[in-house]
Symmetry: C2
Subunit: 608 residues, 2 copies
């Protein structure tokens, strides 16, 4: 690289440091030192290797840059300023109310794919974006800036395994090994060889460099671009707070504005007005797309017994035939979740993620960055493994579809480790989420199709065992709706159920009716949003609601019902799982948990 270019890169990096210090100073908080260590890495990336059309963030040929170390947001925003898409005034609005320049990057900025800030997530999501590139046969590259501290997260090694084994050569991780975490030194300090051995063992091409030497950085980035069949990790030894004596390579300087920003800016050579011209990508080939056709959902005969998980598999296959943008992921349990039905029909659009639920959800988030409609499935219980990824997907406003099978005690003998009993609580509490829980196969099929266009995180809960088909094929089940299954003007109470307990509620209602106690039954298949109008109607007419769910009492269907009617003041009795189940048959489990037909009858009689 000519001396002139090296000088330019040094100037650009100095400006990035200056602007990082200034932004944090204006905010009175933030992470300038974590930005300063990575300034040279990003200066060279922007000036020499990134291919991005900032005037057209949706250009399919654009590279993708993810700041996995999201707290280095001042650096990212300083890069945007150098690229001329954020002005100095906006830069200094960093972390202020209403500013797009939040403490950690979010997709409120059109050039940010996903929110980061929970460490160890950017690389797994980058794997998903790289998978999309391969699926679409696009030449873009995915660049992920990682911190060294976050390499302690297991999710990083799920990503390393998937990318290494799949040979995602379009993915490059750039690790800013600045030796210092938040609280003090990292486990391996500047031993970049320790990280190289780990990534190497997972099949990555590894490059060890001085992260403040533009020539070495340029060489490493070129090497990454030229590497075939393997992802590349660039392990860059850097100094946190580089360039400013007050903070350089010092403990206790994490996550705060500098004490003397004026002096720091001076030390760094003062403000500059260096611009970086990021090269737009070559015109890309048209992204590869899969065929679309007519939607012909499976149809089940009323009275037959079919597991909703089986209906999920068949409906997803039908949806896959109708929509080329639907893809499916599974956590090595596709024979249980029934994703295998889709996988057999559309192997190119099915991703086996093995038992790595964090990477599975992250891959779904990455795929939807490019507009794909991912459905990701595992046991309901095991989505708890990916809770933080689902939470961050909500912050990213990502549209992903999760399907949790083997819900509740109704799974039977396998016992509590396999029972999804907390999934409704987990999914309901997320920003903008949708939670669906069908009770029969036709309803499941309709909801699977419905989910395709739901924005945000949506969740479908399926049941292991077979349940009777009670709805005709082709009936509509809009998100936010419910179905009144039993109703008379004489109803003395209303039972609200979903999924497996709908059938228990119907049996209880029949038994109660036979003994002269008419009760209503509502199938609340949309647990979030709930059909507040239907619940209010029941609350004001019968005045007594009994909710019953195969889930813990906290945070599930019962709470959703109460939330909808609490200002109206009806009496609400909640039935749900309170104890710790062991092994037993499904029928014994429902009985022991006191959520079966007999328990419902007893609860109604007690109330009236």
């Amino acid at each position: 690289m000519p001396e002139r270019d090296l000088q330019y890169l040094a100037e650009l990096a100095a400006q990035l440091r200056v602007d990082s210090v200034r932004a944090a100073a204006a905010a009175g908080s933030g992470h300038p030192t974590s930005s300063m260590s990575a300034a040279d890495l990003m200066a060279v990336l922007f000036a020499c290797h990134l291919r991005y059309d900032f005037t057209d963030p949706g250009n399919p040929a654009n590279d993708h840059l993810i700041f996995s170390k999201g707290h280095a947001s001042p650096l990212l925003y300083s890069l945007y300023k150098a690229a001329g898409i954020v002005d100095d005034e906006e830069l200094l609005s960093f972390r202020k109310r209403g500013s797009r320049l939040e403490g950690h990057p979010t997709p409120r900025l059109p050039w940010v794919d996903v929110a980061t800030g929970s460490l160890g997530q950017g690389l797994p999501i980058g794997v998903g974006v790289a998978m999309a590139g391969r699926l679409e046969r696009l030449p873009y590259r995915v660049w992920v800036l990682c911190g060294d501290s976050e390499l302690a997260e297991g999710s990083i090694w799920e990503a390393a395994e998937h990318a290494g084994d799949e040979g995602l050569a379009n993915l490059t991780a750039i690790v800013d090994v600045n030796r210092l975490g938040q609280r003090g030194p990292t486990r391996h300090g500047w031993d970049i060889g320790a990280y190289a051995r780990r990534f190497g063992a997972f099949g990555w091409h590894t490059i060890e460099i001085d992260g403040h030497d533009p020539g070495q950085i340029d060489f490493a980035l070129s090497d990454a671009c030229n590497t075939r069949r393997r992802p590349t990790v660039i392990l860059a030894k850097t100094r946190k707070g580089e360039g400013v004596v007050e903070v350089e390579n010092r403990e206790g300087a994490h996550g705060k504005a500098l004490k003397d920003p004026g002096k720091a800016v001076e030390e760094l050579g003062g403000p500059r007005d260096v611009r970086v011209e990021v090269r737009a990508p070559e015109k890309a080939p048209t992204p590869h797309r899969f065929e679309s056709g007519q939607l012909e959902l499976p149809a089940y005969k009323v009275g037959d017994k079919v597991a909703t998980r089986a209906a999920y598999g068949e409906a997803l296959k039908a949806l896959g035939a109708a929509r080329g943008d639907v893809v499916a992921l599974d956590g090595e349990v596709a024979d249980s979740t029934k994703t295998e039905t889709f996988g057999a029909a559309f192997p190119e659009r099915f991703f086996e993620m093995y038992i790595a639920e964090q990477q599975m959800v992250a891959a779904a988030v990455g795929l939807q960055v490019r507009g794909w409609k991912p459905y990701a499935a595992t046991f309901a219980a095991f989505f708890t493994r990916a809770h933080d990824f689902i939470r961050m997907a909500a912050v990213s406003r990502a549209s992903i579809r999760l399907v949790g099978s083997h819900a509740g005690v109704a799974i039977g003998e396998d016992g509590p480790s396999q029972m999804g009993l907390e999934d409704l609580a987990m999914l309901r509490a997320l920003y903008g989420s949708t939670v669906l829980y069908p009770c029969d196969a036709n309803q499941t099929a309709a909801l699977v199709a419905e989910m395709a266009d739901v924005e945000g995180v949506s969740y479908l809960r399926t049941t292991r065992g077979s349940t009777p088909v009670i709805y005709e094929p082709g009936e509509r089940f809009p998100v936010g709706g419910s179905r009144v299954l039993r109703h008379s003007p004489d109803d003395r109470a209303t039972i609200v159920a979903a999924g497996v307990t709908v059938h228990e509620a119907l049996a209880a209602a029949d038994e109660l009716a036979a003994s002269g106690v008419p009760v209503g039954v509502i199938d609340l298949y949309s647990v979030k949003p709930v059909d507040a109008a239907a619940l209010a109607e029941a609350a004001t007419t019968t005045g007594t609601l009994i909710t019953v769910e195969d889930h813990r009492l906290e945070g599930g269907l019962g709470d959703a019902v109460m939330d909808a009617v609490c200002e109206l003041g009806p009496r609400v009795t909640k039935l749900g799982v309170t104890g710790l189940p062991g092994s037993a048959t499904p029928e014994e489990q429902l009985s022991d948990a006191r959520i079966d037909r007999h328990a419902i009858v007893a609860a109604v009689k007690r109330l009236l």
Copy 2:
């Protein structure tokens, strides 16, 4: 090893297979093939290397054996039968209602330390048990039987990193590489070298063997015992369903009873009555214990402003001086959570777990196996990363204490990625959990001490910013209690709050009182269990409750209140976070989320 011994070991292994087949056949379900692959490994371990006194499971010198692949429970129970502690009748009660022999092992059996069945957890928990052994200077060994499929879980590599870097030579992982997962082949099949490279890179001693050769197994187990300064992983190439043609090394034979168990038993040479004498350990030295003394909790002056996270750190230090059994863990944020206060005072009892929340919670579970009282802290938001581990801790009836700092929008500028807004929902929905949320420093100190003897999973939620001290030092705050902070016979409504919103509620009550609207205020510091009596009193006297929480509306304080009073039919209005926050000051955040004093006043006025 003499031929006679090899024959015995082969006979014992054959019996373990036979009994695994028989148990699953009796149950009509279960995982016999996953048991058969590991039978030789466990036969040699029990006969030659395990040191365990089955008559005294609490013997501190006992080795610990964790079936990380918990679905191989038929093998474990067959081993118990061979050891003479479970009889054949009980063996055949496998998976039946009321049996201790559940589908996946749980501590209902006195020889089982922790519940397993969610894969990738046994090894990280084993790391915790090994840490306890080192802390107590006990010579026991920790043996963990892993499956190959579960090595895809990131949590395995968090464990590999921690154990490798700490040099936990008392830990041995035995990986049953049978090539087949649930759905089909694993990523690496029989490439045990792939696993060896990975574990080797993380600093482990690796041994590759034929897992059906007793001589090789014996050698490997001896080698593990003789290895210093490094944990050992034995990578054993095995065949799933070994010994029975119907299932051996065949896909589609996972997790089900054999079709023809009679023929399989015959193929395996028929039932036997081989017994294994597991050697009891040598008498161990007295476990090392730390000094205990008087509890002198920090005292804060009413009216001062102190962050509850700071009070947590100081109270934990005081508790550490009083109780030698208290240990603390942190996820590389001890300067934020304030665990550093304890760490500085008791470095031997402080464990830096780096940014690996799953391993942190698993280590806490492992430490409590040996009776330690672990407190594990990180940001409230980041406990979502360990949700599945916390869920399984509840299934294990493990007593661990979690402390989540930086709760809610009140953290201010850092933005949504760092805000704990779903933690109450997550923690409340767990079996037998306790959820505490103090509003001032003295209350925090009291609750930190209270938690030490709480059984099960308990959780304390702390706040980043300073809040006024409103309680006198030394006041008692029992779990399940509440405090009435404002009350008059004329109250027209009752505001229920906890943590940061208590102060907003008090300000709102003052403003309302000044405008002639007296309202009560309850500090519901114990979110689970709740003080149902106090809430019922408020519900029946004022008839109108307003809950306000710095948490999402779903699954938190408001739902806890509704749950307690729903059968009484009061009107309840819930205030909580509904939108997606950005960056802003703490005051702006509370205002924008409509959970500050002004929002409370407006809500009361609207209701009345």
